[in-house]
């Protein structure tokens, strides 16, 4: 019903671009569960691509990852981040001037429409009725809410791709769902709504429309959003 697809090849590719300029050992930044991308899977992919140096949040992460990385892995922790050369979130195409560095997005978040219905012009949508329909409109219920890491600030500000077009998030984001205003268009139950990471919309693009950074967005994507790896 909710999916975060992680592109491990893109992470490895970003790493290659970042590493090529480095003289000192460059640490791959896997803090905060690889900023929501899943530290074990990222570590495995990087290890296969020859990485040995990892920056982690805490010792507990090291126990989880050391079998994956082999005996020659060099693990350092967040309190040393200031003195190490490391990729930072640029490894995931985040935070840096990613486009000019040629870094790719590595997470695509989507969900399946649960229901669609038509509501009359003038009606309010979601809590507080902060959004009013300009015309008779179809509304799609998408099962991603602030509990899944879609910030409440996205309400009435963010746009989600559905049916190949950006659709406004209508009214407040609720804990478990948000509504999209489809206007005179329709949608079917099961259609895929794409929040970011595809169709030219990066995490940074999506997040900046409601004053959050891309790295906070990916890091905050909750455990109900199933990670799949490509």
């Amino acid at each position: 019903m909710r999916e975060a697809r992680i592109f491990l090849g893109a992470i490895v590719g970003n790493g290659e671009r970042l590493r090529s300029d480095a003289s000192a050992p460059l640490y791959a930044d896997l803090r905060a569960d690889a900023y929501g991308h899943g530290a074990p899977e990222v570590a495995r992919a990087l290890s296969a691509a020859g990485w040995r140096h990892l920056l982690l949040s805490a010792a507990a992460d090291a126990e989880r990852l050391a079998p994956l990385m082999g005996a020659d892995a060099v693990l350092r922790f967040s309190d040393e981040a200031g003195v190490l050369s490391h990729t930072g979130p640029a490894l995931y195409g985040l935070e840096s001037d990613a486009a000019s560095l040629g870094l790719a997005s590595c997470m695509r978040v989507s969900a399946r429409v649960v229901s669609v219905k038509t509501v009359e012009a003038g009606e309010g949508v979601s809590y507080g009725h902060t959004y009013r329909l300009q015309r008779r409109s179809a509304l799609a219920l998408v099962p991603v809410g602030y509990s899944d890491g879609l910030p409440r600030s996205a309400g009435n500000r963010g746009q989600v791709m559905l049916g190949g077009q950006p659709r406004p998030i209508a009214g407040r984001v609720a804990m478990d769902v948000h509504m999209l205003d489809l206007g005179t268009d329709g949608a079917e139950v099961g259609d895929e709504a794409v929040l970011f990471g595809d169709l030219g919309v990066t995490a940074e693009d999506f997040a900046s429309s409601f004053d959050v950074s891309g790295v906070e967005l990916t890091t905050g994507i909750g455990p109900r959003v199933a990670r799949t790896y490509a």
Partner: protein
């Protein structure tokens, strides 16, 4: 000793909130909403404590959570209302989980999962929130199909329900009258609705006319107040979660604290909310992935405990204070607290996990 950060969950506060709320909404019953890992307080422990304290209804949101509740509380009634349109409901319905649904497609999906156990369903009417719920035009069709499936023995109509938009007192009053009209229309078609439910925390607390047979309470049970200056204390609620961290390093008058946006904070909290070190409030000046920075505190030492929010009894901020300062609601801050932050339980029963 706090390693990096911890969320302290006070079961005494939870019990006190639930008891006060149950007394207040009586004779209506209280469904305790434990979706999203009990608002990130930890589902299993929370359900154990609430069930032992007499809670007989749990709101779970989805089938998976409902089954987790069922394993802890075999006797309770468990309600799920956001299910995967193509997911398998067989296990949930077989375990007696009751399903909230809004249209014929969902109704048939639930009925198809019935076996020896009929699917107990709660039919939802849209009274103005315009999320889920049947429109008034579609409501008779939904009721008729439920009656037909009930005759076949595949479905049992267990209730009728809706959810308020909380746009204004008058808008909610209109929603209540629309709900009553929908129930009456359904009864005219031959249905009976043993359990009618409409209100969540705020309406359940404020309005006797919203309570019907059952109210669904999440936020208030966790001591999370609605905000806009309304404190938990003014409602007789005690915040259940306290979020704490520790000073990891001191550099001049800067203190580095071991919690960051990787733990669920927003960077935009810097400069806008305070944390407590000892008896003093400090403004956060910067938030990074694993740490935040406090400035102007030369008297702070490594190892000092930093309380981000709590119940306010030691001078610290409450979630409501943070939420008001950030223009959001306490629930958003609570449910962002990352799974990597260990939960520590005060006053919990000894249970096997």
């Amino acid at each position: 000793m706090i390693d990096r950060a911890e969320a302290v969950i006070d079961m005494g506060a939870l019990r006190a909130n639930l008891r006060m709320l149950r007394a207040r909404v009586s004779p209506a019953e209280l469904m305790f909403v434990v979706k999203d890992d009990a608002y990130c307080h930890g589902l299993e422990r929370i359900v154990d404590t609430a069930a032992a304290d007499g809670i007989t209804w749990f709101g779970a949101l989805d089938a998976e959570t409902a089954l987790r509740v069922r394993r802890r509380s075999p006797e309770a009634r468990v309600f799920a209302w956001l299910t995967d349109p193509d997911g398998d409901l067989g296990d949930a319905i077989g375990a007696g989980v009751e399903v909230g649904l809004s249209n014929v497609r969902q109704l048939r999906h639930a009925a198809s999962a019935a076996s020896t156990q009929t699917a107990r369903v709660h039919l939802k009417i849209d009274t103005g929130l315009h999320r889920a719920g049947a429109t008034p035009e579609d409501w008779p069709t939904l009721v008729r199909e439920a009656l037909r499936l009930q005759c076949e023995g595949r479905v049992e109509i267990a209730g009728a329900w809706t959810h308020l938009a909380e746009a204004s007192f008058d808008a909610d009053s209109l929603a209540i009258s629309r709900f009553e009209a929908a129930v009456a229309a359904g009864e005219e078609l031959g249905a009976t609705f043993p359990v009618r439910h409409l209100a969540a925390s705020a309406a359940a607390f404020e309005r006797a006319d919203s309570r019907f047979d059952l109210v669904r309470v999440g936020a208030f049970a966790y001591g999370i107040a609605p905000g806009d200056g309304v404190t938990p204390g003014s409602l007789g609620l005690v915040p259940v979660m306290t979020l704490r961290s520790v000073v990891r390093e001191v550099k001049g008058d800067r203190a580095i604290v071991g919690i960051g946006y990787g733990d669920g904070l927003f960077r935009s909290m810097a400069g806008r909310v305070t944390v407590s070190v000892g008896s003093r409030r400090r403004v956060i000046s910067k938030i990074d992935v694993d740490e935040l920075v406090l400035t102007g505190c030369p008297d702070v030492a490594v190892g000092d405990v930093v309380t981000l929010f709590g119940d306010g009894t030691h001078g610290e901020a409450t979630l409501q204070e943070w939420a008001d300062a950030l223009g959001t609601i306490g629930e958003e801050i609570a449910v962002r607290v990352s799974p990597r932050v260990p939960r520590r339980y005060l006053g919990a029963m000894e249970t096997a996990d």
